[in-house]
């Protein structure tokens, strides 16, 4: 097992400079207003993301896990400024995205892309595969018609599809193939950074690996940086260099992938890992830690440590005092009053 404090995995592709930070997220909050009442005034907020900070280094894959509704997608979109964050800053390559004008931002969009979970709704059903990818090039005035067509072919080949697929429409493809098309579209502009919002969750197990492999190959080839959002723990562990764990709009733990999975500091992380069924029938009898209850509402999150309502180790302090997100050693951060060892 990899126990040293190396920041990147030994097998890591290209050689990411440890210090070089591509995306820096600082205390980002995203509160969605809830309107109502007599005058349709704001009555409260869904605190989807409630003060999250982390850095993504050049060339690395940063994994983000957590239960449904904990704010993973929201933070992903806030980073790309597809949602305007309520507060906080996002720096991309040293530039504050939230200071950019609309036109600057549109140019900047070449650099950062998004890949979606749902391969069905993420492609415009009325556009053929070729048109879908070509549009992206056209918006950014990349080459003339024939040059663009050539590039589309290149891209399709790159993601492992035949050029004759160009004229086909999304509905004629399987989920895995569509996901490849989505990847090709994202790659069209030679981005540096891609947010992958559960890119394989909707795919069959046998196809998942194909897509994950493709993503890894592309990363190697182009020196891409990924933010990989998923609730599939095994996949995240496989693909990520570092992993952040979110709970109710907050980051509760962050660390090297193996380190985090082997030695979770936060009880929530541990519960999450324990819940993951092990594909070995011989181990089924083993006692499991079952996390009771559901995630509380993000409109009025619990006081103190947000996890205390479900935490098997919670004590009085957890209810009152919000734990700080601190380095527990070797860049392994956790927000817990009683971190595990």
């Amino acid at each position: 097992m990899n126990t040293n404090a190396q920041l990147t995995k030994p097998q890591s592709h290209s050689s990411p400079n440890e210090a070089e930070i591509l995306v820096s997220v600082r205390d980002v909050k995203k509160h969605f207003p809830i309107r109502g009442g007599l005058f349709d005034r704001v009555q409260g907020y869904v605190k989807a993301v409630d003060g999250v900070s982390f850095d993504i280094r050049k060339g690395e894959t940063f994994g983000l896990v957590g239960e449904s509704g904990c704010g993973k997608s929201t933070i992903g979109r806030a980073i790309l400024r597809l949602h305007e964050a309520t507060s906080g800053t996002v720096e991309f390559n040293g530039q504050d995205l939230y200071q950019l004008s609309d036109s600057k931002l549109r140019t900047m969009r070449r650099e950062m892309q998004l890949i979606f979970q749902d391969p069905f709704s993420s492609l415009n059903p009325r556009l053929s595969v070729g048109e879908t990818i070509e549009r992206v090039l056209k918006i950014h005035h990349m080459g003339d018609r024939s040059a663009r067509e050539k590039r589309v072919q290149e891209l399709l080949e790159l993601v492992g599809m035949s050029p004759y697929h160009i004229r086909r429409y999304p509905h004629e493809f399987s989920g895995g193939q569509r996901q490849r098309i989505g990847i090709a579209r994202a790659l069209a502009l030679n981005p540096k950074f891609i947010v992958l919002d559960e890119p394989v969750s909707a795919l069959d197990v046998s196809i998942q690996s194909q897509v994950v492999n493709l993503l890894e190959d592309l990363q190697k080839q182009f020196g891409l940086t990924y933010l990989f959002v998923s609730h599939g723990l095994s996949i995240v562990r496989h693909i990520s260099n570092r992993v952040g764990v979110m709970y109710l709009g907050k980051l509760v733990e962050l660390g090297e992938a193996d380190e985090l999975f082997e030695r979770p500091k936060h009880p929530y992380t541990r519960a999450l890992i324990a819940s993951n069924p092990i594909p070995n029938p011989r181990l089924r009898g083993l006692p499991k830690m079952v996390l009771q209850g559901d995630v509380p509402s993000p409109i009025s999150p619990p006081s103190g440590c947000r996890f205390h309502t479900r935490c098997p180790l919670a004590e009085a302090r957890c209810k009152q005092e919000e734990p700080a997100f601190i380095d527990q050693g070797n860049g392994h951060f956790a927000a817990c009053h009683f971190p595990l060892n």
Partner: protein, 282 residues
């Protein structure tokens, strides 16, 4: 590899009703264009002495209460009825779609204000205001078209807006935004093509509505002036007891052509909607 229009045509051709609709409609249009050459009689000359004659060799569809040859009037009436219906539809579709698209896409306050205007227009008694619009201008075909347009676009706007509200949550819209596409081109490339189905349905309904509305306007003296015929006109002037009871053909033939036009347009619409959708069966 076939071109897109060829593919659409191929899908369209598969739909027998749609093809039948297209053929009928083409014939109707041809009829309108060819009216001066194929009409058995002069549309301007008629003898009241010859009124209310049943169909005969001389007058295949009979004559009306003015003694005019009904077949001739149907040929000429096609010109007015079809142009009014189609041009007004084009206008209502264009305005309604743009308006609805902008309102729905931008949402929020813009949407709120734009939709209140639609509400306001929709809740006012159209009849009266059509009358005003029409009387502010010289009566004629264009008056009718403008009157039909002014009060006809709101339904389209409403439907389009509703569709957009749901469409804009789709991931591919977000993908387009993420790749730096501007709002206008998102609307044109990603949103509108995906709601062509409902747009076509409303548009074809509008064609039917326009053919009939033209007659109401003309009846009030605001539209097409007699003796220039229109189908709606012919049907309206047949709304009289003895005509319906004793000279049914005066009502039946124009009625038949209205139904024919309405049906064919609707079948074409259905066929087109399916053909334009790459997901539909080949």
């Amino acid at each position: 590899m076939e071109t897109r229009s060829a593919a659409i045509w191929k899908r369209f051709r598969k739909n027998k009703l749609a093809v039948a609709g297209l053929i009928i409609f083409a014939l109707l249009v041809l009829m309108a264009i060819m009216a001066p050459w194929i009409s058995p009689h002069d549309p301007e000359v008629f003898d009241i002495m010859e009124s209310n004659l049943p169909p005969s060799a001389l007058h295949p569809f009979g004559t009306d209460s003015y003694g005019a040859d009904i077949l001739t009037r149907i040929f000429y009436g096609a010109r007015v009825s079809l142009s009014v219906a189609i041009i007004a539809m084009t206008f209502t579709v264009t305005i309604g779609v743009l308006y609805g698209a902008i309102s729905g896409y931008f949402g929020g306050l813009v949407d709120n204000i734009m939709m209140r205007i639609v509400d306001a227009i929709q809740s006012t008694p159209t009849f009266f205001f059509t009358l005003i619009v029409a009387t502010l201008m010289v009566p004629g075909m264009w008056t009718v078209i403008i009157a039909l347009t002014v009060f006809g676009w709101t339904r389209m706007a409403r439907i389009v807006r509703g569709e957009i509200l749901s469409l804009k949550e789709r991931d591919y819209i977000e993908a387009a935004r993420a790749s730096g596409e501007s709002n206008a081109s998102i609307i044109f490339y990603h949103v509108l093509p995906n709601m062509i189905g409902p747009i076509i349905v409303i548009a074809t309904l509008d064609v039917a509505g326009n053919i009939l509305a033209e007659s109401t306007l003309s009846f009030l003296g605001l539209g097409i002036q007699p003796p220039t015929p229109s189908w709606g006109n012919m049907l309206t002037s047949a709304q009289d007891l003895p005509t319906i009871m004793d000279y049914a053909w005066i009502a039946v033939f124009p009625g038949l052509f209205i139904v024919l036009a309405v049906l064919s347009v609707n079948f074409i619409g259905d066929g087109l909607r399916d053909a334009l959708d790459p997901r539909s069966k080949k």
